[in-house]
């Protein structure tokens, strides 16, 4: 089976004709349709036709319920109605199952070393959006696997890499046009990556990699120093520096701070950092641990701090990431059991067997329930992005970002056969 990545043509032909038959065919067999549209003025008897309609045997809304034989209507990129218990009208797109489009908070779609400003190790003010390449085929590939929204972050070569940007995986080819303005994210890392390229000044004083941390201690110290300086600069304007404001906003909880920390020791460090800020009365970080593979070892500290965790992909041997962290397959269910918010991610792996959908399946192999798994790839990440109003669940008014499945979602024996993003058919299941 062969399908191409771009289907504008397909979607256009699809948006056009249904307009008519929607009006003609739809009206008689759906008497209550007008009631469903109170907003429509009585002078206009005809309901504006949907741009697109599709019928699913099962719609997993993401709010715990499963709608059987539901008819989903899409109008100007939004879901205009979801009505269960309908028979599929003629010529309407039919699928087995529908979930909200999946969201990957660690999609790693940055353009590598061009995406992190290494001249100094703390760059809270730089926005990765400037280096995102929307023509990168990886966006389309992710879209094909049902991932409709991604958070792109700077590469982990900096202690504080800068602002991440949330994007749909399909849409206009300009970042600013595609950017999702939810909750701002400040992304950095703890562990070996930020210091990987660095060395002490002796011998090679000419390059600036000699000015940067070469140890975990150093990395951790840079974090604390950055926040202390930012607070100090508040009082002493002459001490102000680019990004100080971003850091203060983070302390004020206006920005989410996303820290990559694979191993227990690094997760601990991140949480301690947050708690130190609280003790110092600087503020309370809204902390998200990215790639928190070993979160299962000390869930306690995470609970204590109600930290959100983004998990890296499950591997056969459990080993994952450059710090040799070990991810137990029951981590997600364990943390959820502890009442923590957990998001799954492919962390740049795949496509192939390591897609986000498969990760949800593997988490279920580790004991996560279906609903929890669904949340971990849709509503949970949506809330981290502060976009719960638009993304992560399937109901009226939400963005028409849908993953269309040919069987039970996340089962190894089914897959995403169709994808809608903002109401546009990006992958046509037919």
């Amino acid at each position: 089976m062969i399908w191409t990545s771009f289907l504008h043509a397909a979607c256009l032909t699809l948006c056009a004709p249904p307009l008519q038959d929607a009006v003609v065919v739809e009206q008689p067999q759906e008497p209550e349709a007008p009631k469903a549209q109170p907003a429509v003025a009585p002078v206009v008897p005809v309901v504006p036709a949907a741009d697109l309609r599709l019928h699913a045997e099962r719609v997993y809304t993401g709010t715990g319920e499963i709608l059987k034989n539901a008819l989903i209507e899409v109008r100007d990129g939004k879901i205009s109605s979801v009505r269960p218990g309908r028979s599929a009208p003629e010529g309407v797109l039919q699928v087995k199952a529908v979930t909200a489009g999946m969201i990957d908070l660690s999609a790693r779609l940055h353009s590598n070393f061009n995406s992190v400003e290494q001249s100094t190790e703390v760059q809270p003010h730089l926005d990765v959006a400037g280096s995102v390449d929307l023509h990168d085929k990886r966006f389309a590939r992710l879209a094909r696997t049902g991932v409709t929204t991604v958070l792109v972050n700077p590469l982990d070569r900096n202690v504080i890499g800068g602002r991440g940007v949330a994007l749909k995986t399909h849409g206009p080819m300009e970042v600013e046009a595609r950017r999702l303005n939810g909750r701002p994210i400040l992304r950095g890392a703890i562990g070996s990556e930020p210091s990987a390229a660095n060395h002490a000044a002796f011998g090679r004083p000419t390059d600036f990699y000699s000015r940067r941390p070469t140890t975990r201690m150093g990395v951790e110290w840079e974090w604390r120093k950055a926040f202390f300086d930012a607070v100090a600069a508040k009082r002493l304007p002459e001490k102000d520096f680019p990004g100080a404001e971003d850091l203060r906003e983070a302390l004020a909880g206006k920005r989410t701070v996303m820290i990559q920390a694979w191993t227990t020791q690094d997760i601990r460090t991140a949480v301690y950092l947050d708690e130190e800020m609280q003790r110092e009365g600087f503020g309370d970080l809204d902390l998200v641990i990215d790639a928190g593979a070993e979160a299962w070892k000390e869930p306690g500290i995470l609970v204590r701090n109600s930290t959100i965790v983004v998990l890296p992909p499950h591997t056969a041997g459990g080993r994952v990431g450059s710090d040799g962290a070990f991810l137990a397959w029951n981590t997600a269910s364990l943390l959820v059991g502890e009442g923590l918010t957990v998001c799954l991610s492919a962390h740049g792996a795949g496509p192939g067997s390591a897609t986000l959908g498969h990760q949800a399946g593997f988490a279920m192999r580790g004991g996560l329930s279906f609903d929890q798994a669904l949340a971990a790839v849709t509503s949970a990440p949506a809330s981290v992005l502060g976009l719960s109003e638009r993304l992560g669940t399937v109901h009226e008014g939400m963005d028409a970002d849908l993953a269309l499945w040919n069987g039970r979602p996340f089962a190894a024996t089914s897959r995403v056969t169709g994808v809608l993003i903002d109401g546009v058919i990006v992958v046509d299941p037919r």
Binding site: M1, S192, N198, F202, T315, A316, P351, G361
Partner: protein, 486 residues
């Protein structure tokens, strides 16, 4: 009996574990071997024979390692003296068959380009974690062949992933000769092809030379006898005439086979069709060479192609030649149109299915891409369950010439049974027990590695070990950096 061994094994395991660095030991290895005639029976909730309808509440009777009876508990009587594994909550399936792998050897490749005289027997490591993992994911038959980086490689063998010695593991020796149509490093396709053909020309010249020597000798003694007026005692050939669908060397019967260079022998076996050939193709263009070599030298019927995922483009050629194939573990391939720069995804097993080419799936030896997962991917892409399961059981069995011996639960077949908590293609079900030749060889309840992976259970004393290797490496890297600086 199981309980006992279990407890004991757990104790062994603990100590064993303390020793292993990082990777946790194989605690579940239950090393009882079937005495001939020893009886074993399995009673399961459902028995999927893959050779007919599924049998609810079914019974499998195994005697002397072979299945003697399969059927509903009502029809099939369990011998009174049989050891019984009674698991009504589980489903029984035949063990999966890995049609071709280079895992399980200490090193899969040999630097010598043409080395048909080698045998993987000498490289297989019975305690390799690969074999352990096979049991976890339900693989009970493995065809171990040399890696793809060769021209003519070693003789491979079929084993079961259980046993303390290669002899114990052995299912079938001389399971074929490995050949690669794709260039090994330092060569290009042109030079690879040249060397490959050269190997067979070499064999032919060698044989012709042997025959020539014999002839010269015989002729002389004939003349001598004539001269001396002796009646010549009929000089008959001590060897066997050469049988081959390709080329033959006249008068090879004159040469006792023992005189054939032992380094050349396996190649002669191949040409005479006594062993199958496993030919690796790294690109569609290699398929042509592979088929040419096979038919020119008369072993096309006994050829199996081991394909890189790019080879789907040569499917027509393969279908025409009527050979079977083993597919790469990458099932969906992305091709890019050089003009439009747009990507297309090709589901490879689909291509081969449509062309009617018998194909076996191969695992990437990992939980996330083992045979059950590969089969599941096929279902996700529109295969029926039967088609998908066939590609990891009966088809590979046929390809290996083990039809009816493995890959199905039918009388006469080896007693290889998986007992799964549910549909083996489901991400949420597990292989609970594995029976090979009527021996219980895997029991998940005592598989500490799986527990560690799935539940993060870390037995005492192994925690630090489990961490160290990578972390150490890590700090060492750093230390190096600082070292440079101090």
């Amino acid at each position: 009996m199981i309980q006992q061994s279990t407890r004991l094994l757990q104790r062994i395991a603990q100590t064993h574990l303390a020793l292993t660095l990082g990777l946790l030991g194989c605690s579940f290895l239950l090393s009882a071997q079937a005495e001939a005639g020893e009886k074993y029976a399995v009673r399961a909730g459902i028995v999927h024979t893959l050779a007919g309808e599924a049998i609810p509440n079914g019974v499998i009777v195994i005697e002397g390692g072979r299945i003697t009876a399969v059927g509903s508990a009502d029809d099939v009587k369990i011998p009174w003296d049989a050891e019984v594994l009674d698991v009504p909550h589980l489903e029984a399936y035949p063990g999966f068959v890995e049609a071709h792998t280079s895992s399980g050897m200490d090193r899969p490749n040999e630097s010598v380009s043409v080395a048909p005289f080698l045998n993987v027997r000498d490289s297989i490591d019975p305690v390799a974690f690969y074999f352990e993992d096979c049991l976890r994911s339900g693989i009970t038959t493995v065809n171990v062949q040399q890696g793809n980086a060769c021209i003519i490689g070693a003789v491979g063998m079929v084993v079961k992933p259980h046993g303390m010695t290669v002899e114990e593991m052995l299912v079938r020796p001389r399971a074929g000769l490995k050949i690669s149509a794709a260039p090994k490093s330092g060569m290009s396709r042109a030079t690879q092809a040249q060397t490959l053909r050269g190997a067979f020309t070499g064999l032919r010249l060698h044989l012709e030379d042997l025959v020539q020597q014999k002839r010269t000798g015989n002729d002389f003694s004939r003349r001598e006898a004539l001269y001396q007026g002796r009646d010549l005692a009929g000089e008959r050939g001590k060897g066997r005439a050469m049988m081959s669908k390709g080329w033959t060397v006249e008068g090879l019967e004159l040469v006792p086979r023992g005189e054939v260079d032992e380094k050349q022998e396996p190649l002669l076996d191949l040409v005479e069709g006594r062993v199958p050939a496993w030919i690796y193709c790294g690109a569609p263009m290699d398929v042509r060479l592979a088929l040419e070599i096979a038919s020119d030298n008369g072993f096309l019927e006994r050829t199996i192609l081991v394909l890189d995922d790019s080879c789907w483009k040569a499917a027509d050629l393969i279908a025409e030649a009527g050979v079977s194939v083993v597919l790469d573990s990458t099932l969906v391939r992305t091709e890019m149109d050089p003009k439009t720069e747009e990507e297309e995804e090709v589901f490879i097993p689909g291509v081969f299915k449509d062309k009617g080419i018998p194909f076996a799936l191969s695992s990437r030896n990992s939980t996330t891409e083992s045979l059950w997962f590969q089969a599941a991917m096929c279902v996700a892409h529109g295969f029926t369950r039967a088609e998908a399961l066939a590609a990891v059981t009966t088809t590979p069995a046929n390809i290996l010439g083990l039809e009816g011996e493995v890959g199905c639960l039918c009388p006469g077949a080896a007693g290889n049974v998986l007992l799964t908590s549910g549909d083996p293609l489901s991400v949420t079900s597990f292989v609970e027990y594995v029976v090979i030749d009527g021996n219980l060889v895997y029991d998940r309840s005592v598989d500490i590695r799986t527990q560690h992976l799935l539940e993060g259970v870390v037995p005492e004393g192994t925690e630090s070990h489990a961490e160290e290797p990578e972390v150490e490496e890590d700090t060492r890297k750093k230390a190096g950096d600082e070292g440079g600086s101090r």
